[in-house]
Every structure is written in C-alpha cells, then in structure tokens.
C-alpha cells in the first residue's frame, strides 16, 4: 500500500537524520576525569565529587552548535579546556534557525533554573535575551560573546568582544605582500556588521601595503538567510570565480563554508587565508599547503579566561576587549608560508597596538 510505504520511507529518513545528529550531539553532558579522584562517575554526580567545585557551566551556542569547525567550536574548545582543568561539569544547548526570541530567553532561563552558573551565550543573537534574562538571576554570572556592554548591559554580564578588524588587517597585509597578481579576494559568509569588520580590516591591511591592489568581495548570503556560514558549495563557487578572475589569494570569513574556499584554492593552484582558528591544523593534509595563514579570533581563550576568572572570583562585568594588544586576535604561522614577511607583519602589529594605525570597522 502506498501509504505504508510513505510512512516507511519517512521513518527511515528520520532515522538517518537522527543518526547523523546523534554523533555530534552525544556528549552533551561531560565530566572531566582529571579531578584526581579517579572515579568515572555519571554526569549527574559531578557535583558530589570531592575536590571538584560545586558548580556547573552552562553554554548556549549560536546556530550550528558544537561541531561547526569554526566560531562555536572555538567557544567549545575554551569550555572543554577550562572544564577539564577545573574538573567541573557543563551543559550545552544550541540555537535553531528561525527560532523566536523567547526561545533564546527560555534556553538561558532553563540553564539558570537548572543551577548552571556561570552561563556563557555564544553569538550576538543572544544580545537582547541576555540583557533581559540576566537581571532575573542576579546570582548567576553571564558572559556573552560578540555583544558589547552598550548592546547587552548588566551588572552580572561579562561582554567578550573582539577586534576582528585588527587581526584581519594583518592577514590583509600578508595577502598583499604575498600576492603576485596584485589581486586578492574576500569571501564573507553572511553580510552582517560582524563579518564586515573582517572585510574592512582586510582591505585596510592590503591597501596599507599596496594602495593599488584589486580586492574582490563576495558575501554568500544575506540575513536572515544564515546558510552562508554553513554551505561549502557556495564558498567554493564564489572563490572559483575570484581565482578565475585573476585573484591569487582569497581570505574567507565564512564559518563552515570556508572549506569550499580552500578546495577552490587547491583546484586553482592558488592560496587562501583561514579564519577564527588556526585552520591549517584542521584541514586534510593535501589542502594544508594552500593556507598561508589564518586570522585568529581567540574565542577559546576568551571563554577559558572567563571561566577561570569566575572560578577565582575575579570576574568583572562589562566589556573585556580581545584585541592585538591583549593577544585576543592575531595571525597564525603554521606551515611557514609567511615566515619571510613576518618582520613586516610584526611592524604593522606594533603600529596598531601603539595606535599609529587605526583600523576601520566598516568597509
């Protein structure tokens, strides 16, 4: 019968989908085993373990969650490291595309009601909900990544913000120094102010080296379509166009779509620049040679430092700025492709830190 076949097919598809999701989402509650007690206890018992602090960390991810190989993963890395060192448990939850503002608020409240403290919200999308929920739980310390104190104020809110444009300036300078064609590209995931900061810094850095340089700019999608952060095929197509048009180095700030840019670079025999993490270490060995450097946005360090500060009772609310001076942004040198120009880049870095160069935040 047609109907039963339909149900059967749907069930199989659902199973397959859940199977995929299950692999990445499985360890939602984890406990560290470095507490010295030697007991591998169930997650629920974490709080009872001797010597381990009597709190658990809550983390609310942006869309994509753990496993996006980019922004969320960087936050997760900081969380993992801190949780392991301190021997505390944690719980995480991820946002859905197209969810209501109240769902973000409820996610934070559920974490707070369940006793998680501190609570870290990853991404500016949580800006309004943290501002609303934090005053309801004055004893809980909140942190928000990518939303400053003007947007997300609160006596118990730490705003972890980054000077992405400064790091991007340095990789822009690197691109201009390494480009033989005098023609480079930028692939942004979604055209939002956050990613425009990457573009602005990149262009300023490239022009500081070569005022006549040609810079192609493409964004993969427009908000509210955020698929540009998770669509390698789009990234590949965009980068292919740039390489065919004569660009020889493309910088991508496109989250999960960045892999496509690297593939296009490898196919074209050209080069690319990674973002957020040191992506040289994350890609397949045959792709590695195309990544000359990565702009580092050390969300992991910010998250780790925040948790440690909470643990030591030294946490402060308000803006904590991660810029070049604080080593919160920077560039990677893994692979050695930019070793020959490191003196130039360090000189630019000094000029930015001293304020001699002011990097624009809008293109």
């Amino acid at each position: 019968m047609r109907v039963s076949k339909l149900i059967g097919t749907f069930a199989v598809v659902s199973l397959a989908l859940v199977g995929c999701g299950g692999e990445t989402n499985e360890p939602t509650t984890q406990t560290s085993e470095s507490t010295g007690t030697g007991s591998s206890s169930a997650p629920e018992e974490t709080g009872e373990e001797p010597q381990s602090p009597d709190y658990q960390i809550g983390m609310a991810f942006d869309v994509g969650g753990r496993g996006d190989q980019s922004f969320n993963d960087a936050a997760a890395a900081g969380l993992d490291r801190a949780a392991e060192e301190l021997g505390v448990g944690f719980q995480e939850a991820a946002a859905e595309t197209g969810e209501a503002e109240t769902q973000r608020e409820e996610r934070l409240r559920t974490l707070a009601d369940a006793g998680f403290n501190p609570i870290i919200a990853v991404g500016f999308a949580y800006g309004a909900s943290v501002a609303l929920v934090a005053p309801e739980y004055p004893d809980v310390q909140f942190a928000i990544v990518d939303s400053d104190a003007a947007s997300t104020p609160g006596d118990n809110v730490t705003n972890l913000i980054f000077a992405e444009e400064q790091g991007s300036f340095l990789v822009g300078a690197a691109a201009a120094l390494k480009s033989e064609a005098g023609h480079i590209g930028f692939v942004g995931g979604v055209e939002v102010p956050l990613i425009q900061k990457f573009q602005a810094g990149y262009a300023a850095g490239a022009q500081a080296v070569n005022p006549d340089i040609t810079i192609d700019v493409t964004y993969l999608t427009q908000p509210p379509d955020f698929s540009g952060f998770a669509d390698p095929a789009k990234g590949r197509t965009a980068a292919e166009g740039m390489y065919q048009g004569g660009a020889d180095i493309v910088y991508q700030a496109a989250g999960g779509s960045g892999g496509g840019v690297f593939e296009a670079a490898a196919a074209a025999g050209a080069f690319a620049i990674g973002v957020d993490s040191d992506q040289y270490n994350l890609v397949a060995p045959e792709i590695q040679p195309v990544i000359i450097t990565s702009m580092l946005k050390k969300v992991d360090v910010a998250v780790y430092d925040f948790i440690i500060a909470v643990n030591e009772g030294t946490v402060e609310s308000g803006d904590v700025i991660f810029d070049l001076e604080a080593d919160g942004v920077g560039y990677s040198t893994t692979g050695g492709a930019i070793d020959d120009i490191s003196a130039d880049l360090e000189a630019f870095k000094e000029q930015i830190i001293s304020g001699e160069i002011e990097v624009p935040t809008t293109p």
Binding site: S14, G19, G22, T29, A100, E101, T102, Q103, A125, A128
Partner: protein
C-alpha cells in the same frame, strides 16, 4: 442537519489517529537513536509554567496568522509559498514607518498595521499578476519572490538601520513607546503578558470564517477552488478571483510579523524571527484550512516548540526531535484524514447498499405476498 454521533466520531478520529501515529513513530526514532523515550515525552507533556503558557499563546498567535494567510490561498487552490517573504518585507517596511512616529499613539499602531497589510498584499500581488497575465505558476513565482524579498530587506536594512557603535546587530530604529501594543495579563502568575495582537489574530480568524461561508465572494472563492471550469461556466471571473485571493492572502501575511513588532521586538533587526511563512503552511495543512483547526494546529506547534526547548538541557536530547515530530504530525494528519475519509465513504456505501438490499427484499416480499 441532524446530529450524527458516527460523523462526529469520524471527524475526531482523524486528528487523534494522526497524533497517536506521530507519537509512536517519533518514539521509534528516539529509541533507534538511543535516547530516553519516556523522559522526552515526560518533559514535553509536563504542565507548562505560567510564563511558558504566555509564550505558547504568543507564538501561536503568530503561527495562526501565517496559517490563515496560507489557508486563504489553499481554499482557492492557490499555493502561496510566499507568505515568508511577504511577512518579512511587510514587517520591515512597517517597522520603518512606525519608527517615524508620524501619528500619535494608537493611530500610529493602526497606520503600522495598514502599511504592513498593504506591503504584504503588494508583494503577493506581483505573483497574482504574473499568474493571470503570463500564466506563471504562483508556486514558482512566490518562491522566487521570497528570495528577492530576502535580498531587498537585507539591502534596505543597511540603509535604514541604526547601529549602536560596537554592536554586531543592526535594526531599524525602535518604534515610539506610545505606539507599542500593550500586552494583556491573561495568565495569572506569569511575569510576562500575552500580546495585545492576539485579539487581532482572533478577529482575523472570525473574519476569515465569515468571508468564506457567509459571503458571495467566499462562495465564489470556494467554487473556484473546487473546480475552475465549473466556476467559469457559472459566470465567475476566475482571474479576478485569483488576484483578489492573492491580495487578501498577502494582506494577512503582512500581519504575521505584527505581534512581534508591536508586542516584543519593537524594531526589525537581524534577529527578527524568520521562517514563519513555512511554518504557516504546515499549520494550515494541519488545521485543514478550518479557522478553528488552524488555531489548534498553531497551538499544538507552539506548544511543541516551547516544551521541547529545554530537552537539550534537561534530558540531553537534541530538540531537533520536535522538528521531526512536527513533520510526522503533518504527514500523519494528511494520511489519517485520507484513511478516515475513505473509511467513511466505504461505511456510507455499505449503509446505502444495505438499505437498498433491505428495500429490494421488502419489495420482493410484497410482490410474492400479492
């Protein structure tokens, strides 16, 4: 029409059957993924806190308007997939207009709503004109118009936005305090309030019901939906009906973003809720285009969304399971209605056959007795 218990039972059987089947299939999915089935259902079925009840009503009001917009098209055999683009463009333009504060207080709210309906109707009207003049399927054109609306709003948002220095969010200027729609403290013990716009949503449902079943226009609309050739034969101007139905559908779509704009967000920004138009299609299907049915569908979807939110935190199960349940519910509803309909038709046929047989027997008995 006389009260027929069998008929009532059949009508209720379909949604109940669908829900039971959906829960069973979803449980199988959960079990296959190695997740705690009982815990998941316990979390979803636990009584919501007053605060959550308010959230459920609020998001149901949004889904309800979206479902109505889709249903108006459905009754005409028009598949308006473009509700998504229509409501986003409408909400954006309305947010810009509302923020100007040209009119004081309530008048500004009325202006905002009118602007939203006009923009929604206009965007749907593009698809309607393409359909009646060039024969372009509204399915294709509205999907394309969704993409265009996305790009258009993204472009205009950057022009019209006010950005707090250093913030990574952008949005239109907030609408003045006196033109925000006050909430209703409907649920005792809840710190939050039900959107004032819920009243408008209910009124829209009543208007939809009256329009369809009590007016000539509604009759023409349903007649065209049932059979276009029959409608033409009986003198209905089908092209005119297509344009009007699309305009009304788009106008209602324009209302979808209003509860959010006037009741909680007060501006249109990057985090304004998206995807409501597609959810509306599922809700309209679930409610069988019936105004009360759509309301139940909207409440069910928003209940599932709200109750599943803590799943990840409390049970350690991805709340994607609810997306799966919602998908299964829509499928099973469609299937269950068909199964129940066939069963009803078969019952009817058997009943008629039995009565005919009885009558024939009586006739032959009379003949033989004579």
């Amino acid at each position: 029409m006389q009260f027929d218990p069998r008929r009532v039972a059949l009508t209720l059987a379909a949604p109940v059957l669908a829900l039971v089947a959906a829960v069973a299939i979803a449980s199988l999915v959960l079990a296959a993924a190695g997740d705690p089935v009982i815990e998941v259902w316990r979390t979803i079925l636990q009584p919501p806190k007053p605060r959550n009840v308010v959230n459920i009503i609020n998001s149901a009001s949004v889904l309800y308007l979206s479902g109505l917009a889709v249903a108006i098209g459905f009754r005409m055999n028009l598949f308006n997939i473009g509700v998504d683009g229509q409501y986003r463009l409408a909400a954006f333009v309305a947010a810009v207009v509302a923020a100007q504060g040209w009119l004081p207080g309530v008048l500004n709210i009325v202006l905002t709503i009118v602007v939203a309906m006009l923009v929604g109707a206009m965007w749907a009207g593009v698809a309607a004109i393409l359909k009646v003049t060039r024969g372009v399927s509204e399915v294709i054109s509205t999907i394309m118009l969704n993409a265009i609306a996305t790009a258009l709003v993204a472009y205009l948002l950057r022009k019209a936005s006010v950005q707090v220095a250093g913030s990574n969010n952008i949005g239109t200027a907030p609408i003045p305090e006196d033109s925000r729609m006050p909430g209703i403290a409907l649920i005792p013990g809840a710190p939050n309030e039900v959107y004032g716009f819920v009243v408008v949503a209910i009124a829209a449902g009543i208007a939809y019901s009256v329009l369809l079943s009590r007016t000539t226009f509604g009759f023409n609309l349903r007649a065209t939906g049932r059979s276009e050739s029959a409608a033409v034969a009986s003198g209905i101007d089908v092209k005119r009906m297509v344009v009007i139905a699309m305009l009304i559908s788009g106008g209602v779509a324009g209302l979808v973003g209003m509860p959010l704009l006037l009741g909680s967000a007060y501006s249109y920004g990057l985090t304004f809720q998206s995807g409501l138009g597609f959810a509306g299609i599922a809700v309209a299907l679930l409610g069988r285009n019936n105004p009360v049915g759509i309301a139940i569908g909207a409440l069910l979807f928003s209940y599932l969304n709200e109750q599943s939110n803590p799943l990840q935190i409390l049970v350690g199960v991805s709340d994607d399971i609810v997306k799966i349940v919602q998908g299964i519910v829509v499928l099973t509803v469609v299937i269950a209605y068909e199964v129940v309909r066939r069963y009803g038709v078969a019952q009817e046929q058997r009943k008629v056959a039995r009565e005919l047989a009885n009558q024939r027997r009586r006739d032959s008995e009379e003949v033989s007795a004579a």
